[in-house]
Symmetry: C2
Subunit: 182 residues, 2 copies
């Protein structure tokens, strides 16, 4: 989890910041430091993950952390510095499910402007059914489409991505799903 | 521009932070506040933009700001909170070029792990050849493929996106280009 804190103090020099439109042509209110003149921004965060598939079944993880502890999700988490979107998606899949995958194409990119996030899910083929869930996961399990626990999913982006995935699979063609959730 | 500052002080309480692995199961070094116990993260930023096209020509903007002042770029900029990727791409296109567009499909998503950014470019059809460049742009101009100023482009993500765009157009099919630049 990466909660967003209001910016009260300058992270460079520790002085209390002002919240105002900077003098550099910007049009938005930012955290501006009157002491060292640095400007500190808040921007959307990327959440990167995969849709891991083994013999037609999709891997879901039962969350062992808040929020939504005990609910099911596709493996995903915040993209870190020093990695690409696919490297982040592979890392989260390894950390949360402990499965080895061959990374496929980007399948969904879902903007969540209310929470300041963009969720990106890649298709992925599991190399074996072996799973070694990490501490953030109570249980990892393969689900056939008919067995997906729709009412027990943790996040709407997981639900939408799975709905689109099964629909595309039925139609024999996987697209790119670029959506937003207000 | 949104330079990344090292985190020296806690943005919540102003106390000097420690740089260490937090006690919450994380495995990376973060800025941890010993006073209020908040953890402050640095994550990749999204840059969103468009490939605006009018009668087969592509619109480029000559930058009026550093870095790369005087070089040509596709209209793009940092995604803001409270917007989707396409809303951000449309906003930047309006701010930098002052052109009205019909937004098309995501065309390129380019990770830049060394600078902590992801650049996303959407195809876009201009509704008219009218342009009203903003203060960040010296000049906006429509270029035929043969006239693209390849040696005067501001950013590698612009270059790669334009190369892929013209190649796809020649082949009669626009794909999604998911790349990284080390
Ligand atoms: Zn300061
Ligand atoms: Zn603090």
């Amino acid at each position: 989890m990466q909660p967003r804190h209001t910016i009260n103090y300058c992270r460079v020099c520790g002085h209390a910041v002002e919240h105002r439109v900077p003098d550099d042509g910007d049009s938005r209110i930012r955290a501006v430091c009157p002491a060292c003149h640095s400007i500190q921004y808040l921007n959307p965060l990327n959440v990167v993950g995969t849709i891991p598939v083994w013999e037609g079944k999709v891997l879901l993880c039962k969350r062992n952390i808040e929020p939504r502890m005990g609910k099911w999700t596709l493996p995903a988490g915040f993209m870190e510095l020093d990695e690409t979107t696919t490297q982040g998606a592979a890392r989260e899949t390894d950390e949360e499910a402990g499965v080895q995958i061959d990374m496929g194409a980007l399948f969904s990119i879902i903007s969540l402007p209310r929470v300041g996030q963009v969720h990106l899910f890649y298709r992925a083929d599991m190399r074996s059914p072996d799973m070694h869930p990490g501490p953030e996961t109570q249980e990892a399990r393969l689900f056939a489409e008919a067995d997906i626990p729709w009412s027990e999913l943790a996040f709407r982006t997981t639900q939408i991505t799975l709905e689109r995935f099964f629909s595309d699979r039925q139609h024999g063609h996987y697209g790119l799903h670029d959506l937003s959730i207000e």
